[in-house]
Structure formats: structure tokens, C-alpha cells
Symmetry: D2
Subunit: 287 residues, 4 copies
């Protein structure tokens, strides 16, 4: 049996379309970019999904979903492990999701968190720099009714805390497998380690259950202007805190959707969550 | 804002479990391996999924699914793009699939096909070397009732042709988006190129519709001992040939399941097909 | 063991809510009504689903779905066998379907068909009397972009034929298990019987495959203004004609969604079709 | 327009098959029956689903599912409102459920409960008379590994209490929307009414959360021999008690599956639950 080298062109031509990799002209696709941040003192990375014909339909504006990764993750997680582009393209092609821009920020490479600390004012960056930058550099519809937020694990905590503190910014919030409070039973975390301890302390400082339970009537009213969808697996180590979070919503009378599906704290769960999340935010968008 | 390097250990500890990457002891997992092939005159790669506790339950034997990649793909496709490990682990954890071994062969790097040609006797390799090797080196249950085959695109063609010619080997066959015959309308294929032309000629030589339509009564009876499940998207360029294949099964009276779901010739489609395929072969296995 | 009669009130109070029958004030519900028809020379029955708070939100207008029963059926089929009220209420409560009016006409008690014959001008009744009557007597949004049609079996044929001949009237058409042409292999039909022969002749006169294949370019353009969704089971005796219908749409370049799901020509299939159909027409409605 | 009477035969011939009503020979079907009960001092009704070819495959024995109605309901509920026959036939035809016998007892017409009281020893009837009667009069496989139980609302409570007290009898238990304890917030219940008060007192006496929390280690071990699946809607008034029940299972270390799906305390929820429950008990059966 001889080995026969053959041309790169052939390999690409045959492989790409059959393997589903192809970037057809005008197809919805993800690009990796950076933006400057003076708050964080560095270039920040992000991934952005631009829907089909974004480049040619230059008069069209789109709603935006901010889609957050988990603790220790990065902006490449949703594209690479969550199969984001494929799911978005398919749901948009069948109209189950509307054409939208999806932004995956990068919050994981330093202090790994979505919350402000003196040396890492990520939440300030998110609202003061990232959202304005996206609204300036992409054809978004820049208002509450066309902006939503979703995220997994620590990014689920970010989703809730951001939508809670800025209900004027988002019409919908979809936390997946939300890590809503410090969970000291996690065997793989060394809570005595200064860095790890700090990350989890920030999570605890933004305990989402307490945010809701301690909210003022005005905050509760504001929460009711956001559509909430809580999604957590029956085998997830975050199950209990998600149930507590739902109990807090119930106590405060905030409407929500809840799904407990099969699964754990895994990419399979988050990949399949997209099939619910993108249609959910689509129904919340008005445009 | 200062950049503070921190330890790799912390990064790994925090990142892996939260991001869903972790290999917990005993967890179902995929390993990449090679095996010798004298038929092909080279080491051949494969990926193999071993179910939970495979290493410790050393007296237990398992059914096997052979899961084929598409044209131009490789044995890493199902693990990396199809999210195979995660889907298998979840479905097995909830008993929707039984514990099974899943073998992803590598057929794409040379003449890119599952069929015999003088210089690339892949089908001979598959039946004379690969299956015996797997049965010798892993704790399979080595019989028809515990062996199934599935595959996408060209691997869907391989699935059908293999199960058609060796119905004594498989209890179930699940072609996804099957590329069952040469499709001369594919703009990205240069059918005049010697290599490409040859690959597609081999597909045509194994035209699955003709295999069924030209089958003898004995072959039809043998086909009825295999459970067939045809799965193809409504936007797939292989839609017509899949419909023709079903028509051939109908003409011959061979029972089958058919699903036309939303989607095209994409990894999203094949990833979601696993949620149907693994339970389907589970129901076909007896053990 | 003694038999103890106890009050009707208790029975009703306990039974209804627990059994899910209750009509809570403002809940979406179905009512059975009649309307006069001078074309048909008689009162015609219909069922109508009115969404939640229809009676109190008296300034609100709604899109309308016409939902057709099958041959030999009646306007009570969708409510009683298709679980229409429950599905509509649930999908609307979770916003997967918008608030809409759903009209189930009655076409089955005489010549059992949706098509005009000299003594039973049902199609004339539908367009000249029923739609205007509904638009006059209920708070519909009376235009193409807020009117859709769906139906099962012979009602799937009605769905296609009506949307084909009146594309200016409907934004979406969803035939389920469409009986699109006379199927002479149906063992239970006596095609020599004058009445049965006539019914099936009318179906054949309105053969949906031929309607599409014989359409003019202007008709094709008009078809493209309607969103089409074809839904048929893999075990349905109408499978082949549905595939032929899709082939006709493909030949003419009319976009469509197609799903082949598990099942036959059964109420289970049509009940589950509602979970696809109501969101589909919702996405087509603009209001 | 003249009214023309036409033959009953034609109506039946055309209507039944198209409307999906037909009882084809050998098709899985439901029959309504009665059996004597000396414990209850009366004939008791039940509905029984017999799978396809039950009457002709006279040597074959089948696993059995007991499927309980809700408070105030009857044995006709699952057939008439839950579309039981259609769902069972479809899932069995595609092998997603195995051929099984399904028994729907009648517990609702007197004291409306599954639990023993001095004048209505229903639980005694169930275990001492009903199960033996079914095992004697139908070709069941009469052992734990081939017997399962499921039910809705009060029947969900019966499901849990029966499987808890008789874990030697069932391999699987699937409560839907379980009414596991007296819920005094139910506005439509008059808890001061002697009859209603008694029914709900019996529920409280069999509080499923307390059963689990108060169980002995031996009882916990026995519970682990049953596969548990808890299914409750996110809008169900029984949501909280179902969450409490799951918390009790977690506290005791009893494995379970949990799904919180969209919906309330409705027949839509229970109808769709069958698509999960029948495959779940199938996976638990060994035969």
C-alpha cells in the first residue's frame, strides 16, 4: 500500500463542506477580536457571532445576546465547546431564533470573575466599556428590549447579578447551571488559596439568592421587567442553589421559566441549553 | 491594573471541573490509539470510547458501536466536533443508552473512503483486521446482537454498505445524512480530478439505493435481521438520495425508522443525532 | 363497605382542578358555536379557541389560525382528541405561541370535504362566509400577516389548496399527514360507492402535487409569500404523497420546512404536531 | 342545498381510519372491565391496555405498569384524557417502549384515595386483590423486575407510598405532579368539609416527604432497589412539595431522575409525561 500525497486544495475542497466546516459567503459566523479597556488596563478579547448577511445587509440592525463563559473559561468556549455557530445558524435558518449578534466576552484569564474587585473592575468594564464598544462598532439595536444576557456556571451568576443590578439594560436573562453562591463542598477548590479564595469570595459577595431575598420593592418591580429562565441539570452540583434561587423568585413574586433537564455541569448541558436560550431571548426581543 | 501570574495548578483545578472537562476516575472517556494493519500497510489510528468503570469492572463485557466519520474527516471528528464523550456519558448515566464501547475508525487521510480499491482495501481492513482487533483487545461482546454501526455522510454510505454486505455482523445500522451515491451537483467537488473522481466513483460503485434495489430475496431477508434508522435533515444536500434509499427499503419491504429533522449537512445535526442513535442501538442490543 | 353519597359540589370542587378541567376566569378556552351559511343553506357549526383574557381585554385584537379536521371528522375533533385547549394554553403561557384565536370549522358531516361541488360549495363558504363572519364577530387582526391555516389528513389537503388558491389570505400553512391525492390502495374505502367515490374524486380534483407542479410562475411567486411546514409520520399511509408534495415544492423553488417524525396517521401525531404548529404560525405572524 | 342521508357503513369506514380511531386486528388496545373485591365489598372497575397481538401470541408474558389517576378522577382518565392507547402504541411500535400491560385502577369514586381508612381499605385492595387478580387473569410476568407504578397528582402520592411500602413489588416508580402532602393553600378545597377533610387528612397521613425523611436505613436500602423518576411542571401548585420530596431523596442518598418541564397541573403535562414514563419503565424492566 503506497502513501500518495495529494493536493491541499483537494483536501480542503472535499473536507470542508462534507465535514460542515465551510464558511459559505454570507453565512453566520464567529470572529475573534480584541478591544481596548482603560478600566482593565489591557486589550480584552471577545468572540462575536454575526448573523447571515451581516456584511452585506449594511442597513440592518440586530438585537444582541451577551453569552458568558464559566469560571476558568474564556471567550472561545462557546464557539469551540458549545457549538455556538452551528446552533445559532440552524435556529436562525428555521426562524426559531431571530437574526441576532452574540457576544462572548473574556473574563477568565485573570481574576476569573464577572464582579468588581479593586484590581479587576470587570463589571465596570462590562457596562462602561464593552457594551458601548459593541453598540458603537456593530449594528446593534441599542436598547433594553433588544439586549439579553445568558451564561453558564459563574457566568450564570454574572447573568443574574448583571440583570439584577441593570434591569434597564436587558429584556431577558438565562442563567444555565448557575453557580450562585460559594459552594464549600467543592472538593477541587482550595478555599484557603489566596486567589481561589478571592474568586469564590466575590461569588459569595454577589450571592444571587441573597440579592433577590434582600431586594427592595422597587428592585422587585424592576426584576419583573426582565424575563427570567432558569435552566439546571438534575445531576448538577449547582442544583440546590438554583432551587434556592427559584424559591427566592417565588417569594418575591417574580415570574420565571424553570427547566430541570437531564444532566450535570457539562458542555453537553450548555450546548443543548442553546436550543432553549436562543428562542427564549428571541421571544423577548422586539424589533 | 496589574497582570498577576498565578499557578497552573489553580488554573487547572478551577477550570477543568467548572468547564466540564474533568476526567473523574472511572468516568466514561475517549482515548486515541493506533493499531497495525497489514492490509493497509500502515498503522491505523482510531478513537475509542470506554464506558464508566471500564478499567475496574474487569469481568464485564460490552456491546460495541462502530461510528464512522465523513469524507475528509478523521477519527477525532466525533470526539471533538460531535461531543461524543459528553453525550455518551449523559445518556448512559440516565440509562437512555446502555454502557457500550464506541469505536471511531480513521478512514479519511488517504483515499478517503470506506470501500475497497486495489490500493486501499479499507473494507477488508475493517472486517478482517479492525473488528477482530477490537474484539481481541477490548472486552466486547463479540456477536451480531451486540454490534451496531452508524456514521455520517460518506460514513453513512459505509454504514449501509457494510451492514448490507455483512448483515450477520450488525444488529442495527444508523446512517446520518448519508451520502449514498455520487452527487454531481456538488459545486465544490472537481469530478475530473483523479483523486476526487476516484473517491466519488467508489461511492457510486457502492450506491446504496442500487444495493437495495438490486438485492436478491435472500439479501432482503438478511437486511430484515438488521434494524435500520435513517436520519437526514430537511436542508441537507443528501435529502433526495436519502428519500430514494427509503423508497428502496419500502419497495423491498424492509422495516425502518425514518426521521427528517431540522437542519443541513452539519455537525449540529450529527451531534443531535447521537441522542437518537445511542438509544436506538441500545434497544437493538441484547445482553 | 358502605356506599356513601356525597355532594356534587364536593365532587366538582375536588375533581376539576386536580384533573385539570377547570375553567379559571380569564383562561383560554374553547366554545362551540354555529353560524348561518346561505351558500350551504344551513347553520354551520364551529369551535373557537379564545385566548386568556379575551373577554376582558376588549381592545386587543388577535391573529387567527384556521385548524381543519380530517375526513369524516368534525369541529369537535381538535378540542376533544387533539387536546387543543390544553396545548394552546400551555404554549401561550410560556410565550412559545402568541395569543391567538383558533377556529375549527366543521366540514365533515355532509359531503365531507373542503372543496367545492355543485351541491356543497364548502370552499366558497369558507372564504365568502366563514372568514368574514369570524373577522366580524371576533377581534381578529384581519389581514394576511395575521392569518394562518393548518389541518390534518383531508384537512391537510384543504390547507394546501386553500393557501395555494388564496396566498393573499394566509402567511403560513401547516399540513399534517396531508391526504393530498386519491389513494386507491386504502382498503377501507369503497371507491365504487357514489358518496365515497365522490369525496375522493374531489380530493383528486384538488391534487396538491399537481397544483404545485402545474402552477404558473406568478402562482409560484405567490406561494413564496406563504411559509410552508410539512409534517408527516414515517409510518403514515400518506408518507409517499407528502414526499411527492415536497418534491414539487423543491422543483418550483418554494421554501419550506419538513419534518418526518415517528408515527402514523393518528391523533397522537396530530396532538404532538400542535407543539410545532402553534410556534410556527406564531413566528409567521406579525403584530 | 339538500341534506342527504348516507349509510352508516360509509361513515364508519371513512371516518374511523382517517380519524385514527380504528381498532385494527391485533392492535394494542384498552378494554374496560370490572373485578370483584371482598375488601371493598363491591365490583371495582379498571381499564387495561393490552399490547399488540396479545390475543394471538398466547404464550407470551408481559411486564406490567400500574398507572394511577388523580384525585376525583377515574380509570377512564388515562385512556380518554391522557391519550394512553395512542401513546403506548406509538412508543411500542418504534421500540421506545417494550410491549407491556398497563393497568388503570379506579380509586376515585368513593373516598377518593389510594390509602387505607377503616371504611375504604384501598391499599389493601390494591396489593391483596388487584395485583393478584391481574397476575391471575392476564399473562403478566409476576415479579418485581417486571412491575412498575406511575401516577398523577394524588396518584403520584399513591405511586410513592406504594413503592415505599412495597419496594419488593416494583422496579420503578414515576410520580407526575405528585400531590405528596396536604396543601392547605388550595382555594377550591373545603378542608372543614368532612369528606374533603378526610381525603386530605389521608394524604397528610401518607406525606411522602415524611415517609422518606423518617425512613430507617433498611427502608432506604430498599428504596434504592427501585428506580425513581420525579416529573413536575414549573407552574404546578405541587412544585414545592415535589422539590421537598427530591430534597428528602437527596438527604437519604436515594438515586433518582428529576425533570421540571414546562407546565402546570394539567392533562397536557400528564399526556406528555407518558413519552418519558413508558421508556423509563421499559429500561427498568428485565425480561
Amino acid at each position: 500500500m503506497r502513501q500518495k500525497p495529494f493536493g491541499l486544495l483537494f483536501t480542503i475542497l472535499l473536507m470542508l463542506p462534507l465535514a460542515g466546516f465551510a464558511q459559505f459567503p454570507g453565512m453566520g459566523h464567529i470572529v475573534y477580536k480584541t478591544m481596548p479597556s482603560s478600566i482593565l488596563g489591557q486589550e480584552r478579547e471577545y468572540a462575536i457571532y454575526l448573523p447571515k448577511n451581516y456584511d452585506t445587509h449594511t442597513a440592518k440592525r440586530y438585537p444582541v445576546l451577551y453569552l458568558l463563559h464559566g469560571g476558568g473559561g474564556s471567550h472561545t468556549d462557546w464557539p469551540e465547546q458549545g457549538l455556538l455557530q452551528g446552533v445559532a445558524n440552524q435556529l436562525i435558518d428555521s426562524n426559531e431564533a431571530c437574526e441576532m449578534i452574540i457576544v462572548c466576552p473574556e473574563a477568565g484569564k485573570n481574576f476569573m470573575n464577572y464582579f468588581n474587585s479593586p484590581e479587576w473592575r470587570y463589571e465596570d468594564y462590562f457596562f462602561q466599556e464593552l457594551i458601548p464598544y459593541i453598540d458603537s462598532n456593530y449594528r446593534t439595536i441599542s436598547n433594553k428590549q433588544n439586549r439579553a444576557i445568558a451564561g453558564l456556571s459563574m457566568g450564570g451568576g454574572g447573568t443574574v447579578a448583571y440583570a439584577f443590578r441593570h434591569p434597564e439594560m436587558f429584556c431577558a436573562a438565562y442563567p444555565m447551571s448557575g453557580y450562585f453562591s460559594r459552594n464549600e463542598s467543592l472538593a477541587w477548590v482550595n478555599f484557603d488559596d489566596p486567589v481561589q479564595g478571592k474568586v469564590h469570595q466575590l461569588v459569595e459577595d454577589n450571592n444571587c439568592v441573597k440579592l433577590v431575598l434582600n431586594s427592595t420593592p422597587a428592585q422587585v418591580d424592576a426584576m419583573k421587567t426582565v424575563r427570567w429562565f432558569i435552566d439546571c441539570g438534575d445531576d448538577d452540583f449547582c442544583y440546590d442553589i438554583n432551587i434556592d434561587f427559584v424559591a427566592a423568585l417565588r417569594e418575591k413574586g417574580v415570574p420565571y421559566e424553570l427547566r430541570i433537564r437531564d444532566g450535570g455541569h457539562t458542555w453537553i448541558y450548555w450546548n443543548t441549553a442553546l436550543y432553549y436560550a436562543l428562542p427564549f431571548v428571541t421571544r423577548a426581543f422586539t424589533n
